[in-house]
């Protein structure tokens, strides 16, 4: 009995003391201070060297620390001057001469000039450059057309291309084209990625591994100083934990909110932003062999899939139905006349009958996840059900992302009839050029894993690449979209809308169609 009394009494006392300690001893968790924006990131960055990284997650930091020669005009995917004040393009489209902004300084105090620009591109592109070993530079092929970079004078630099390459300016606006400080690279060598120095609105302050990257306001920014004093980027890999941090006030801004969590933020304490971006989610169809070698069957698949249901039910409204191969975010090159294939199972059945294939059997490669793939397993299952409803017999094979790429990129021949895929690009040229031309079949080093081939499309894309006039390029891309839409080498499914949640203390925040996170004008109260 003695034991029981002792135990009960001590348990009560312990419980009471514990509750008191929790209730009184612990202050309510401190909110983040005014002027400091805490951003919930999806992963630890690899490096803060723009030439060395490939992840959108890292770009969210870099775009605030560095500038490129050009940048995307706010709210669009059209380029405007940044570190270059103006430029001229030679008649044949192979020489780009940039006039550089005067008096711009890097955060480390060194000056920005034509020599630094040359250093940046030579470092990436020339294997014998003394600082080429600060790489590898996985996306340097964005500039593989660059033959030489010549310094004309301190404020003028000329790029010579080995062939006309219209997406060149867009690529300069991409993070791979951001300009780093030559002095800092020379000082830190391979450690530059942890000691970055740029010209951007924020300068690097601190990187605590697996905890946070901190950047501070650059008061001397050439385009007007930022409103925030500092930005803290916290890597929080688990989406549920990120949501909980947002609800608890541990972060002020959260990107890539899981669709199911969006309803948590439909209150006055939060603001949800959405922005469609240059993303397209599609099914590659094997046009070389099997049922999809017949255009009618490919069109039937486009009619059979209920894209609106995928976008609204599976993706909870975080995407829009795609009409063709080019995302509408490329407003200047997007063909407004294009309508998505309507959901019409009867039409699909009729087309299958016309093709003489009422019950085609197809193998469908599905991935478990991956960059830009949204919710691939659930989407794959829904697509399977839609196709089976019109007579297809669909066998799904699921792969982990890297294995999946290893299966799909070398081509579907002999393995599958269709595969999920998604792309995010920075120019309307990139995706069709790499994935729809005859010259882009996998054995020629491209991503046309479904072996689509149409000489007309090839000719349009080749011409668009050499045209320097944007109006002419737009016409060519629009025509290409009409043909590809009708040929249906893919099932066009969705364009992802990026989302972000900010607390009500954050003002002036806007998502960009480029999916970059630009924080210069953001205010935190």
């Amino acid at each position: 009995m003695q034991l029981m009394d002792w135990t009960r009494r001590s348990l009560l006392a312990a419980a009471g003391a514990g509750a008191m300690a929790l209730g009184l001893g612990l202050p309510v968790q401190a909110q983040t201070p005014p002027g400091v924006l805490v951003v919930g990131q999806i992963a630890e960055p690899k490096a803060l060297d723009p030439a060395a990284v490939t992840a959108v997650n890292d770009f969210r930091i870099l775009m605030n620390v560095y500038d490129g020669l050009v940048r995307y005009k706010s709210g669009t995917l059209e380029v405007e001057p940044a570190l270059a004040e103006s430029w001229t393009i030679s008649e044949d489209g192979t020489e780009y001469t940039f006039k550089l902004r005067d008096g711009v300084m890097f955060h480390d105090g060194s000056a920005f000039n034509a020599d630094v620009v040359k250093f940046n591109f030579d470092r990436m592109l020339k294997e014998d450059h003394p600082y080429h070993n600060t790489g590898p530079f996985p996306l340097s092929f964005f500039f593989s057309a660059v033959e030489s970079v010549d310094v004309i004078d301190a404020q003028t630099v000329k790029f010579k291309l080995n062939a006309p390459y219209a997406p060149f300016l867009s690529n300069l606006a991409y993070p791979t084209g951001l300009i780093v400080s030559q002095a800092a690279v020379e000082q830190h060598g391979a450690d530059f990625g942890r000691n970055p120095s740029g010209t951007g609105p924020f300068k690097f302050a601190e990187w605590r591994s697996n905890e946070a990257v901190v950047v501070e306001k650059n008061p001397d920014y050439w385009d007007g100083a930022a409103s925030l004093e500092a930005v803290v980027y916290r890597p929080i890999t688990d989406a549920n934990t990120r949501t909980a941090e947002m609800l608890a006030g541990g972060i002020d801004l959260m990107v890539e909110v899981p669709p199911v969590a969006l309803s948590e933020f439909q209150t006055d304490a939060y603001r949800v932003s959405e922005q469609a971006g240059p993303h397209v989610w599609f099914l590659i169809l094997n046009a070389k062999e099997g049922p999809f070698a017949d255009k009618l069957v490919r069109q039937a698949a486009n009619y059979a899939v209920n894209k609106a249901a995928l976008v609204n039910d599976v993706l909870e409204g975080t995407a829009e139905v795609a009409a063709g191969p080019t995302p509408p975010a490329f407003a200047w090159a997007y063909n407004e006349a294009l309508e998505p294939y309507p959901y019409d199972p009867e039409r699909a059945k009729a087309l299958l009958a016309e093709a003489g294939m009422q019950n085609p059997s197809v193998t469908f490669f599905v991935t478990e996840g991956g960059s830009g793939m949204l919710d691939p397993v659930a989407m794959g299952t829904a697509i399977q059900a839609d196709l089976e409803a019109v007579g297809f017999s669909v066998k799904i094979q699921t792969y982990e992302w890297n294995t999946f790429l290893g299966e799909v990129n070398p081509g579907l021949e002999g393995k599958a009839d269709m595969a999920e895929m998604a792309w995010m690009t920075n120019d309307p040229d990139t995706l069709p050029f790499l994935a729809l031309r005859t010259e882009a079949w996998p054995d020629k080093g491209g991503f046309n894993s479904g072996y689509y081939s149409n000489p007309q499309v090839d000719a349009l894309l080749d011409e668009a690449r050499t045209a320097t006039d944007q109006g002419r390029r737009a016409e060519l891309y629009k025509e290409m979209q009409t043909i590809v839409h009708d040929d249906a080498p893919w099932v066009f499914v969705a364009n992802w809308k990026q989302n972000a949640v900010t607390s009500s203390k954050v003002d002036n925040f806007q998502l960009e169609p480029s999916f970059f996170l630009l924080l210069k004008d953001v205010v935190k109260n």
């Binding site: 034991l3 690899k46 490939t54 996306l139 990625g193 982990e400």
Partner: protein, 315 residues
């Protein structure tokens, strides 16, 4: 004793070599390579080949294995592709974070597990026993990551008493009190299942002992019930409880992976999961080898300690 320790240390060498071969072979055989993982959609055969060359992955597997092994013997574990920093820094930093979390959870589960088992056994079929048995069953049945999320919702989101995630506060943190606040939820969530297991086994071990003659003798000669339970019985029961604690220590360490993901704890389990997904070969290999070496050394220490305590184990 010296020769025994030496013998055990020598026998660890083939074990570690075997581990290097196995982990290297697994990383070499799994589909997908780091260049594809880094390049994502842009992984053309040409780009992959160039990047593999830059990363030094174009050599034959056997050559890469011996280069890696040779470098490791000089203390160079290489550079992580995905994090761009030396493998050894990353692994040691992460492993110490895991030890803090798993160590705290282990202390918690030992203390509360044994306490609950003893109280339960000494009041067999009483109210306390039933309550504890019920709580233990509940604890064993709730998956730790689910419990972790529920704790976050209650203590961090609703009550705002504790921080949601991480190891230290971004501002004004860094001291022991800050660490304890961040540790409270993950350590508790991690300890719950092991506490339940230890409590059940302690209870049965205690019941076994309490039925024995020397306990009746102790009671007969007037020893207080408190002393009988905590002095005589528990000491005898510890013989069968301690091996269970050893096994639970392993479970707590491996269970830390889920908890590290839920609470964004910067530990080695989460690091390895990320590294495998990104095909960060050197980080996976180096991480596994270093963690395995720690286990091997820990085991040798346990064996040596046991041989010191128990003369029946031949030295």
């Amino acid at each position: 004793m010296g020769s025994y320790i030496l013998k055990r240390l020598l026998s660890a060498i083939p074990v570690l070599l075997g581990i290097t071969i196995i982990v290297f072979a697994i990383m070499a055989m799994i589909p997908g390579d780091p260049a594809t993982a880094i390049l994502g959609s842009y992984a053309t055969p040409e780009n992959v080949e160039k990047l593999n060359r830059d990363l030094g992955l174009d050599k034959p597997a056997a050559a890469r294995y011996f280069i890696w092994l040779g470098n490791m013997l000089t203390g160079d574990f290489g550079q992580s592709f995905a994090l761009n920093r030396p493998v050894i820094h990353e692994v040691l930093e992460r492993f110490s974070a895991t030890l803090v979390l798993a160590g705290t959870a282990f202390v918690l589960c030992c203390f509360f597990g044994i306490l609950a088992g003893v109280v339960s056994a000494s009041r067999q079929y009483g109210l306390a026993d039933k309550a504890i048995t019920f709580a233990v069953l509940l604890g064993i049945s709730i998956p730790s990551f689910f419990l972790g999320m529920m704790m976050i919702l209650l203590f961090a989101v609703s009550l705002k008493w504790l921080p949601v995630s991480g190891m230290y506060a971004i501002y004004g943190g860094g001291d022991l009190w800050d660490l304890l606040k961040h540790l409270a939820m993950p350590a508790t969530a991690l300890a719950v299942v092991a506490t339940g297991v230890i409590a059940r086994l302690s209870r049965s071990a205690m019941l076994e002992v309490l039925r024995q003659d020397f306990i009746r003798t102790a009671r007969a000669k007037g020893v207080s019930e408190h002393r009988v339970i905590w002095g005589h019985a528990l000491r005898a029961a510890m013989v069968s409880i301690i091996p269970v604690l050893g096994i639970q220590a392993g479970f707590v360490l491996s269970g830390a992976v889920y908890i590290e993901i839920v609470f964004q704890w910067p530990g080695v389990g989460r690091m390895l999961v990320d590294a495998i997904l990104k095909r960060d070969i050197l980080l996976v290999q180096g991480g596994v080898v270093l963690v395995a070496a720690c286990y091997v050394i820990f085991n040798i220490m346990v064996d040596v300690a046991q041989s010191l305590l128990d003369p029946r184990i031949k030295t």
